[in-house]
Amino acid sequence: MKIAKTRMLAFAAATALFSIGHAALADELSIMASGGAWQDAQRKAWFEPFSKETGAKILEQEYLGDLGKVKAMVDTGNVPIDLVTVETATVLQGCDAGILERLDYSKIGPRDKFIEGSALDCGVGLDAYGDILAYDPTVLKEAPTSVLDLFDTEKFPGKRAMRKFPAQNLEWALMADGVAPADVYKVLATPEGVDRAFKKLDTIKNDIVWWDAGAQPAQLLASKEVVMTTAWNGRIQNAIDTDKKPFKIVWNNQILEYDMIAIPKGAKNPELAYKYLAYISKPDNNAKLASYITYGPVRTDAASFVAADALPKLPNAPDHLAGAYLVADTEFWGDYGEDLVKRFNAWLAQ
């Protein structure tokens, strides 16, 4: 299970006795996003320009990434939000549980113009981010050349930080064990493949420091508690650009994922929500987010609109896709996620 989320939820349960504002009026769009630098970037790239263009007022809500709250809203028929940002796996869950509206792409944009896997039935992609490896060159004398160097404790001794979650770690374990990126999910769908991945993780288990929250990897690197860490590329780039840390990102064998946005069932203002989705899905608008946070566009035809200085930092910049990389398979995690999370927790506790 996601301890990070649990931790945040625990905070929310006890502190955030916030009520979700008043019901949206006709020209008000209520968007629930997961806060932090990412929501700030969305505000500058999309919320404010959309407001200016349409005259609609955007009400921002923050939440902690769990669908339980949205489910409660939908079940009780009181849905005070029109849009919610979610992870891909959450889109599938929400779809399955009947919490999220199945999207009508004729109101959003051509579905085939989205990068494969970023236009789902119940959610449309906002941006692409990379699960990468980061290190501090002032600590590590020899530079890692691939994320898979996580598993090379001889060449790179010392603690390494990894996300306390099976996704990505199992994929990397299999690739480090010699499985080609194209076959990773095929192998992982078999019990033998899962055993193989866990066996590979066993080899470095004692060297792993687990991280939960997205901000932790940069902290762990900065405090020199670990010599390398997996991370979301935007967080490390932020530490490099804003905090002037000397960190370096290894893109080879990165895993690409998408952030999603969805309409909860029973939203009060679906038409305006669709208008917003269409707005941010226009190639030029889709590319704007990259100027505020280093996450790339999900439209295949948006690359030419990305600001020149932002492009080299994006996970899906041509340079970063030159080596090996893997696109996270949402359907796979929809199928096996719950089971593998349980197995991962059992493995952690052993």
């Binding site: 649990t6 939820l9 399955d96 055993d195 796979f332 927790n345 059992a346």
Partner: protein, 426 residues
């Protein structure tokens, strides 16, 4: 009230409303009985709104939620034709083609009703990997106009795989033991018997044991700290006792989250506790107190201390100091006097305090989430995860149910050993 004469029960009722005064004793006693019955009715009527509120807002929702653990009609509702077609299937090999045709019809209907996703999720909870197969088949059925549905379903290898049909057949019973068994790391095997799940998938028994272990450790720690403190408070002058009680209760008035967060500050690697230990020379290097079992027990002990201490204190206060003096004067040594005179009297308070703390500890959620590490998560954390993240409320209900049963069983054992009336709460 005086004992009833058996014969009284058989006598015809006396005239109502007649004043009882002056009547013979038997009549008086019957009238009193009636009056008492009326009193009881009246007090029941007064308490009725509260009882009703409790039942409506507490009892019924809990029963409804817990019933999800054994009642999950999703698959049965989604596959009515298939259920019928499987009625006389013997469970061996593949069912007849009729079942495949019924399945195709059911799947198409689910797609039309928009419930295909719910079905896919419910099947996937029992058979990982089923989700995408169900949705794929549904899409193919929708897309292939004119092609016989039987062919389409047969063309998807999943529907002919060994585990698929037994799972479906099992799922068509709305009453299910699947979730309860899963919560105990058990499952049905192919022969219809119950077996343990493979060790790499077994997790809940371990977590239950961990939960009980942590609860027991915290209870013991609060008792060791609380008993002497309660004794101290009970034996000092009243004014000082009041100050000490306030000192004990002060953290009690602070939110549990704030107290937990404070422990994070104290226990972290470069926190105050580690600084102190290094400075005093008790430790040669910084200890991992955060995200560890020991840190969790420390923080929980702090939060639970008043719950253990107060019942003990309330009993100790009632014991006159002269009793111990009497014991000494009769020649008992201090320990003997303590063991034979003092301890038996405070025992109910000790038990009440420990029981309260132990049961509260079983439900801890925030503190393990914030202070415990990966292997210190208690059962509530898993329940919360199934509710909030996995949206598998059936599994959450099953785990809650097992926890409730364990807790009630423990309570029952306590009550049996001690007698409920001897438990002295504050």
């Amino acid at each position: 009230m005086s004992a009833l004469q058996p014969s009284e029960l058989d006598r015809p009722a006396l005239a109502r409303g007649r004043p009882a005064a002056g009547a013979d004793p038997k009549t008086a006693s019957a009238a009193m009985r009636r009056a008492e019955f009326g009193d009881r009715l009246r007090s029941l009527a007064l308490a009725a709104p509260l009882l009703l509120l409790l039942a409506l807002s507490f009892g019924i929702p809990i029963v409804l939620l817990l019933s999800r653990a054994v009642y999950d009609p999703t698959i049965a509702d989604a596959l009515p034709r298939t259920s019928q077609a499987l009625a006389d299937w013997n469970g061996q090999g593949l069912p007849a083609d009729a079942a495949f045709i019924a399945l195709a019809a059911d799947l198409s209907e689910n797609q039309a009703k928009g419930t295909a996703y719910e079905l896919a999720k419910a099947l996937n909870a029992r058979l990982p990997g089923a989700r995408s197969q169900v949705l794929k088949t549904v899409r193919q059925l929708e897309g292939a106009a004119g092609k016989p549905p039987l062919e389409i379903v047969k063309a998807v290898p999943f529907w002919s795989a060994p585990g698929t049909w037994p799972t479906i057949a099992n799922g068509t019973h709305a009453l299910t033991s699947f979730y309860l068994l899963s919560a105990l790391d058990l499952r049905w095997n192919a022969d219809g018997g119950i077996e343990r799940v493979p060790p790499e998938q077994a997790i809940f028994l371990q977590v239950f044991l961990r939960t009980f272990f942590v609860a027991a450790a915290v209870t013991l720690a609060t008792l060791l700290l609380g008993f002497p403190l309660a004794y101290l408070i009970a034996s000092v002058p009243k004014g000082l006792a009041a100050i000490l009680i306030v000192a004990v209760l002060l953290p009690f008035w602070t939110s549990i989250l704030v107290r937990t967060a404070a422990w994070t500050v104290l226990l972290q690697k470069f926190g105050l506790v580690n600084d102190m230990l290094l400075w005093l020379g008790f430790a040669s290097e910084r200890l991992d107190l955060m995200y560890s079992r020991i840190g969790l027990i420390i923080a929980m002990t702090h939060i639970q201390l008043p719950f253990t201490l107060l019942p003990i204190y309330s009993v100790m206060r009632t014991i006159a100091p002269s009793q111990m003096k009497a014991a000494y004067s009769l020649g008992a040594r201090p320990f003997t006097a303590f063991r034979r005179v003092y301890l038996p009297q405070v025992f109910p308070g000790v038990m009440a305090g420990c029981l309260l703390t132990f049961i509260l500890c079983l439900g801890y959620y925030i503190t393990p989430a914030l202070i415990g590490g990966a292997s210190d998560q208690l059962i509530s954390n898993f329940i919360a995860n199934y509710v909030n993240v996995e949206l598998n409320w059936e599994m959450a209900a099953a785990l809650s149910f097992i926890l409730l049963v364990f807790t009630l069983a423990l309570f029952g054992i306590f009550a049996r050993i001690l007698g409920l009336d001897r438990l002295k709460m504050v």
